[in-house]
């Protein structure tokens, strides 16, 4: 423990991310991201590429800035008054961190699933139809119904709810609610889905279902998932990024990062020596 602490002190002076930060044909490119809450810096000069159709896991001790980084990618940090984000984040040739960017369109492209399932207190159908409705994605009722069905199907929930679409979304079990929230976010056909500890409020069976689902969704979406469970990271992701105190310490293929970490801090973390 103490040796980990002291190593940490030494490392603070030269923290350059080790591993494969850059990829070919990235879907999302982040360069020199700094995030401040007031005076406090929560993300320190982070650069990272994210490829299309990959699942990338973000791990690291509590408070290291995983959620903060995730919120940069759909500009949810805008809703926090004290929060300032600088750097470039490019999605589809557009720097989404510029002031002029239409966050409504951005959030249709970058969906988000939260730690606690948060369906609206409306029917299952309305929960899924809401996004397409406000973004004007369906021309008529039939088309909307089709979107609802296909989204629920992709979220692996259709068979369980097809006979009760008018029941309240909150009447579902926790795991079903989380899949409903996933269906809600994929209903607007995003390119990227951000998931902030999506299984931490769920039991192992519901968790396994969501993990299976994430693997299927990879075909159509890029998924960035924050998780506290290293088992989960290794089950669902192709790449893993390890954060520590606001620094991106190491990025690499999930297998390599867990079996053969290059950075001492990464090794300390995955072997459970701190965090």
């Amino acid at each position: 423990m103490d040796s980990a602490r002291s190593r940490l002190q030494v490392d603070r002076n030269h923290r350059k991310t080790v591993g494969e930060v850059f990829v070919e044909n990235p879907r999302l490119t982040c360069r020199d991201i700094d995030v401040f809450y007031g005076e406090k810096q929560a993300i320190k000069n982070v650069s990272l590429d994210i490829a299309g159709n990959e699942v990338i896991a973000m791990i690291g001790p509590s408070g290291c800035g995983k959620s903060t980084f995730l919120r940069c990618l759909n500009r949810m940090n805008d809703t926090i008054d004290s929060c300032r984000v600088s750097g470039n984040i490019v999605l589809d040739d557009e720097d989404i961190n510029q002031p002029g960017v239409d966050v409504v369109l951005l959030r249709a492209k970058v969906g988000m699933v939260f730690q606690k399932p948060n369906p609206f207190p409306k029917s299952i159908r309305e929960n899924v139809a809401y996004g397409p409705r406000i973004h004007g994605l369906a021309a008529d009722r039939n088309q909307l119904d089709e979107i609802v069905e296909s989204s629920l199907q992709k979220a692996g929930l259709w068979d369980e709810v097809k006979d009760r679409l008018d029941d309240s979304g909150t009447s579902l079990s926790g795991g079903q609610q989380q899949r409903l929230c996933i269906a809600r976010s994929i209903a607007v056909s995003p390119e990227v889905i951000l998931m902030d500890e999506p299984c931490s409020a769920l039991d192992p069976i519901a968790t396994a279902k969501i993990e299976g689902l994430i693997d299927e969704l990879r075909e159509n979406f890029t998924i960035i998932i924050v998780t506290h469970s290293m088992q989960q990271a290794s089950r669902v992701s192709q790449r893993t990024a390890f954060f520590h105190l606001g620094d991106l310490i190491e990025v690499g293929s999930t297998r390599q990062l867990f079996t053969n970490p290059k950075h001492q801090l990464t090794e300390d973390y995955i072997t459970g020596r701190f965090g």
Binding site: F114, N118, F120, V188
Partner: protein
Amino acid sequence: MTKIWGKRVFSSSLLDSRFLFLAATVVGVLLTLSIFAFMVMLGLPLFSVHSLTLLLTQAWAPDQGLYGVFPFICGTCAIVSLSLLIAFPLSLGNAILIHLLAPRRLARFLHQVVKMMTGVPTVIYGFVGIFFLVPLVREWFSRGSGMCILSAALLLALLISPTMILVFLESFSAIPATHLRALEALGGTRRQKLLHVILPGARTGIITGLLLALGRALGDTMIALMVAGNATAQPESLLDSVRTLTAHIALVMAADFDSIEFKTIFACGIILYLWTAVLTLSLRCLHFNYAKSSHDQSL
């Protein structure tokens, strides 16, 4: 041994408190009902001379033997509905401004002002009404004394708004943040946030605020006495002076106890009582039915 004893103490104190709550409820209900019974009893002698329909529909002219309170019902109705018509949208808008639109500092300042306004005694509002609003209304319309339905309704709107705003704000801030986050993450605009999450979620609070304001407006006596003009004639326009049921009660109190005039105040009391009860119940029912069917409502 001690454990069992401890348990017993616990359950018996629980029983005690349950009994206390029950007793409080029963006393409350009994009091309310007995007030009603009391008014009916004291009003009975009047109903034996004067039929209820006559009382409800006739004009007020004691010297001609007419003891109807119809003009007062009209006056009350006009003032209360006009003041709610003014105050409700203003209060809702104000609450939305404070909660959602105004910059943090301005919002906090407005909130404080509204809180302070709830504490101002009614009679102060009355003063402001007499010395400021009444002359203004007289000037504007250059008709009558300025003591009229319009003045009273405007002033009453000012009186009931702060309470309404505070209740609205309370219900806005009770909206789960997770729903707001979900909407933001879907790309919802501020407008959609308001229309699809905040207002539907605050429905109950909005109804409650409206009911409180309605009760306050219906029960207010001071404003009506001071600025409505207290004329007993049937009002025909918003600029006419009127007497409300409450003002009538207050004014006739001073009359001879055995006179028929005096007995009419019990009729007024009964009318006010039933009026409030019916309005409250029907609004609650409406809300309940709406809440039941709101599943099918689109977001």
